[in-house]
Symmetry: C2
Subunit: 206 residues, 2 copies
DNA sequence: GTCTATACCCAGATAGAC
DNA sequence: GTCTATCTGGGTATAGAC
């Protein structure tokens, strides 16, 4: 691993622990094993390091589309199968050590970093919500859930539970139990999905 | 308002906007209209200002116990009435301008401030969850909800939705629509409570 | 590409006159 | 209680030798 890569990885480690403002260029340099002035041979500024981390994460996270026809097929195999398949796709991304760290970085920086904020809002909250609305509408057309239920409300009721688990982990419990969190996340949201589904499913559907 | 109070209030404003590390003593002094050295006649350090804000918030937030017998009476008037009463108690605290600001401050500082972190964990997450577990058990004993449902899971499914609305507001949308948020919070969580309740209620109960 | 040296700035905090 | 003046330390970043 060359020094540029080292700077990149060390910065992810430190920024995700202490936040962007809580880490100095000196600290990064010292952790890499070079002098701080050498950093500037690879990145033009501290902000430039942060930007490269942002770009990396956005790139990695936005190429995992779930094709709707596949979702439809999964849904025919029962709700539990369908849910597990969708959740696994998201978790496999998150499971990589680097992605967990950057996710925490995104959460903690979102309150004052406009770029992070708009990414979270668009790609991590609004995007999935719209995806779930499509799926609940699909369930309606398949006569799995009642016709009069509010699809938007249903999507939020379902999805925000998992979002809060993420917040809770990254702000309150991090970094203990990183692995345990990923395990529990699936089983907990699965039970929750069941609860939501049960509230609107048509009699006789499992 | 004397200068000590001014320092206190200005600090709440600035800390909640930019975070503790994002605000300098000079900024606070300038906003108050005095020199930074004068700050130290009222508070021994920047950290001391922060601590007094923490103490104030903890004091204000931890004297609003909901007596269980009252909750039981409310519950007999129907689930919707019961829920609205409980939620109003919490919202009336939050509605004060100062409390909204400090709540945001708590959220954004929680990732690296151990005191804030443990308060949030204990009093804002675990405490209410345990309260809701008591209430769902009460509903069980009143034969309102099914006997085989998981009360812990139910409490989380219910409560985490509202917690995420808080996170979303304070990190992503703040400070736009502060008032609108407080309005929407009640109606949104009410609908969500309905969804959760419907998934476990015994046939014939409203 | 890495180093030493340094510029420049702003932070938190203190001393002592008034 | 507030001021001016100042200390000390840490931050980002640059210049120029090797």
């Amino acid at each position: 691993m060359n020094n540029k890569e080292k700077i990149f990885n060390v910065s992810i480690d430190l920024f995700s622990q202490y936040g962007f403002d809580g880490v100095s260029v000196r600290q990064i340099a010292s952790e890499v094993g070079i002098k701080e002035s050498s950093i500037y041979n690879h990145y033009s500024s501290k902000q430039a390091i942060m930007n490269s981390i942002l770009d990396y994460y956005v790139e990695e996270m936005t190429n995992d589309e779930i094709p709707l026809d596949q979702a439809s097929i999964n849904l025919d195999k029962g709700f539990d199968f369908f849910y597990k398949a969708g959740c696994d796709a998201f978790l496999s991304k998150l499971k990589e050590d680097k992605m967990m760290k950057i996710t925490r970085l995104f959460f903690i920086e979102s309150y004052h970093n406009e770029e992070v904020k708009s990414f979270l809002k668009k790609s991590i909250i609004e995007g999935p919500i719209e995806g779930w609305m499509v799926l609940f509408n699909l369930m309606k057309s398949k006569k799995l859930i009642k016709d009069d239920c509010d699809v938007r409300q249903l999507s939020e009721s379902f999805f925000y539970y998992g979002m809060f688990l993420l917040y809770e982990h990254f702000f309150i419990n991090y970094p203990e139990d990183d692995d345990k969190f990923l395990e529990d996340f699936l089983t907990k949201t699965e039970k929750h999905a069941r609860t939501i589904f049960d509230s609107v499913k048509i009699e006789g559907i499992k």
